[in-house]
């Protein structure tokens, strides 16, 4: 994104594009089919500094800015949306709250190993009965003097079974609603943390997502993130940040789909000329290109807002809503341009179509984004 200041921005893009081309792209189709987790590739990406992109250098991170982070997620998603979400979740929903709400000791103990590329991270908010209505979560914690004991079930947890550290939300008493919720730093190796087998997903098949049972998990007092009762507000602030990453992922998938469609429209001939010389196809490609640029502009606006101290829920929700819906329109158009071949696993667009689908669902559905935006509008309406 051209608004970035750092002179290293283009150098980082060159590095990521080259890494994606040589290491990620060749096996993407195979990993999609086998649902194999790319441990080896991720290990290399950790060494390159891609787990702690915006974590300061003194905490073992790369010390880059938010724009660089979003560009990296977009470039990775363009070739493999599964790896993009694994990286995005580690940096964002785990790394970001540790960076912003963690004490120095917590950052040293939990964030440094992630930022330096040794471990992946994750986030446990959603539960089987608490999706869009996250404040109604039922995972309980109780204070036993020297520790907290956590019990409950978490669902749809990205990086379940592959990450070491999670930020986990639990309530003291569900009747307290949002105010009863606290955030804890959970070590996946602790006794009582049980990972169910990964979900069989439609898309993002080589990223790992699963159910987690917390059975009398003993969390030390030193692993409370922020204050008791601050958990829900930590979760919302984290989502304001992480939605930018998902918007970037959606833009990346859409760019990948446009490239596939362009290549096909150039090479495929019907009625005596290449597809892209048919106006119906050319116009569709033009619309895809314009929609991608519009989503990116919204994302940049939200990212600029996120780089200021003020709250940016509305901007993040707008960018995530538009980018994810746009992404689904663009991949559908790309399939249409491919005709029957787009329906075959032989073409990358078939995978992209499935990968795109979840972007309007996770990190808050499109409906949740509209709740966030309309609430902000209502507030604004009062001062009209």
């Amino acid at each position: 994104m051209e608004t970035s200041v750092g002179e290293q921005y283009e150098q980082v893009r060159d590095l990521v594009v080259s890494f994606c081309k040589k290491k990620i792209a060749p096996g993407a189709a195979k990993r999609d089919q086998s649902a194999e987790f790319p441990s080896g590739i991720l290990h290399e990406m950790g060494e390159l500094g891609l787990f702690g992109i915006f974590v300061p250098e003194e905490l073992g991170g790369a010390g880059m800015d938010l724009m660089t982070y979003l560009m990296i997620i977009e470039e990775i998603a363009k070739v493999d949306a599964s790896i993009a979400v694994t990286i995005s979740v580690t940096n964002s929903v785990c790394g970001w709250p540790l960076l912003h709400f963690g004490t120095r000791e917590q950052q040293e103990r939990y964030l440094r190993p992630i930022a330096s590329g040794e471990e992946l991270g994750g986030f446990m908010l959603t539960e089987p009965e608490a999706g869009s209505d996250a404040a109604s979560l039922k995972t309980r914690y109780r204070d036993v003097g020297d520790a907290f004991i956590l019990n409950g079930t978490k669902a749809w947890i990205t990086n379940a079974g592959v990450a070491k550290t999670f930020v986990c939300m639990a309530t003291k008493d569900p009747s307290l609603g949002a105010h009863g919720i606290s955030a804890f730093i959970l070590d996946a190796d602790q006794e009582g943390v049980i990972f169910d087998k990964p979900e069989e997903k439609m898309g993002l098949r080589s990223s790992k997502t699963g159910m987690v049972t917390l059975d009398n998990v003993r969390v030390p007092k030193s692993a409370l993130l922020g204050r008791e009762g601050q958990g829900f507000s930590i979760a919302l602030a984290t989502l304001d940040h992480s939605r930018l990453g998902i918007a970037a992922q959606a833009v990346g998938i859409a760019r990948g789909a446009l490239e596939e469609a362009l290549r096909y429209a150039r090479d495929r001939r019907q009625f005596g000329r290449p597809l892209y010389d048919h106006q119906a196809i050319g116009f569709r490609l033009a619309e895809m290109d314009t929609e991608i640029a519009a989503a990116r502009a919204l994302l940049q606006e939200a990212a600029r807002a996120a780089m200021t101290p003020r709250r940016h829920s509305r901007e993040s929700a707008r960018a995530k809503l538009f980018a994810s819906e746009m992404c689904n329109r663009v991949v559908a158009s790309a399939i249409q341009i491919h005709g029957g071949y787009g329906y075959s696993k032989e073409y990358a667009i078939e995978r992209m179509y499935r990968d795109a689908r979840v972007t309007t669902v996770y990190e808050g559905t499109s409906e949740v984004q509209k709740i966030v935006i309309s609430r902000a509008l209502k507030q604004a309406a009062e001062s009209l």
């Binding site: 002179e7 290293q8 150098q11 980082v12 590095l15 080259s18 890494f19 060494e47 390159l48 500094g49 891609l50 992109i53 250098e57 991170g61 790369a62 010390g63 880059m64």
Partner: protein
């Protein structure tokens, strides 16, 4: 050990090359510049020595225009400790001896145990700078290197020759030219990219070496480009229509392979 790596900044190998208005240079508009891939092998070998604790200093040297600093920064990002930029080279482009003279003048008073150079600069492909540099510095050299065993004060080197490998031993310091296959160059880590911004790039003007580009490219020139031409475009392929009579089409294909393509 102290290692010197000579780097040249070249058009990306994926670039679409167009010839410039003067017919003697390429049109540089829109060209992306990269560290020459053979120099990447040279750098990687030095960085591996540093990783193993055998080298305590890796210095990258280039003779090139201002934009070549980006190539030096890339090398620093991968782990080189220092960079030296001799600014210039637009008029001596492709003149291996001129380039070697400049590098030799910059290196002659420095401390080093080995000088690693890519076997050739991608683009001009002259494959001469390393050997000329060694002669000018009165050093032994081994070219086309695909494996290096580092011993105390000496190296045992495998070099690529027609049909096999030749093993050569050389005392150090020496000039070694790196061939594809020597190693797999690393990527710069994000932290390396940030750290590179804080590493020193020493700028040297040609005049400080007692040289000037006009003389190098004029009276002393040994290399003169008359004109550049693009290779002829590949002829279109032939499609034999065979839906109606596959047997006749197959016979036609065999005939063409035999008579035109002379495949058998």
């Amino acid at each position: 050990m102290k290692c010197i790596v000579c780097m040249t900044h070249v058009p990306d190998t994926a670039s679409i090359i167009k010839i410039g208005a003067d017919g003697k240079h390429i049109d540089e508009t829109g060209i992306k510049w990269i560290v020459s891939p053979y120099d990447e092998y040279a750098l990687e070998e030095a960085l591996k020595l540093a990783d193993e604790g055998k080298a305590d200093e890796v210095t990258v040297v280039t003779y090139g225009p201002q934009r070549a600093e980006a190539g030096l920064r890339e090398c620093l990002a991968r782990g080189a400790h220092k960079a030296v930029h001799i600014v210039g080279g637009e008029k001596t482009l492709g003149d291996s001896l001129a380039i070697a003279k400049v590098l030799a003048a910059a290196l002659k008073d420095r401390e080093y145990d080995v000088i690693l150079v890519g076997v050739k600069g991608v683009g001009t492909d002259n494959s001469q700078v390393g050997q000329m540099l060694a002669e000018l510095l009165d050093l032994p050299h081994v070219s086309n290197v695909v494996k290096i065993d580092w011993n105390d004060g000496a190296v045992a080197v495998e070099r690529e020759v027609e049909g096999g490998h030749e093993v050569v031993e050389s005392p150090l310091p020496a000039v070694l030219t790196a061939q594809k296959g020597l190693n797999e160059p690393r990527y710069a880590a994000l932290k390396g990219i940030m750290a590179a911004k804080r590493k020193p790039v020493e700028k040297i003007e040609l005049s400080a070496l007692g040289l000037d580009e006009d003389t190098l490219a004029g009276a002393d020139a040994t290399y003169n480009v008359r004109s550049l031409e693009l290779p002829p475009e590949k002829a279109a392929g032939t499609i034999i229509q065979g839906e109606d009579d596959p047997q006749a089409a197959a016979a036609e294909l065999v005939k063409l392979l035999h008579e035109e393509a002379k495949a058998f």
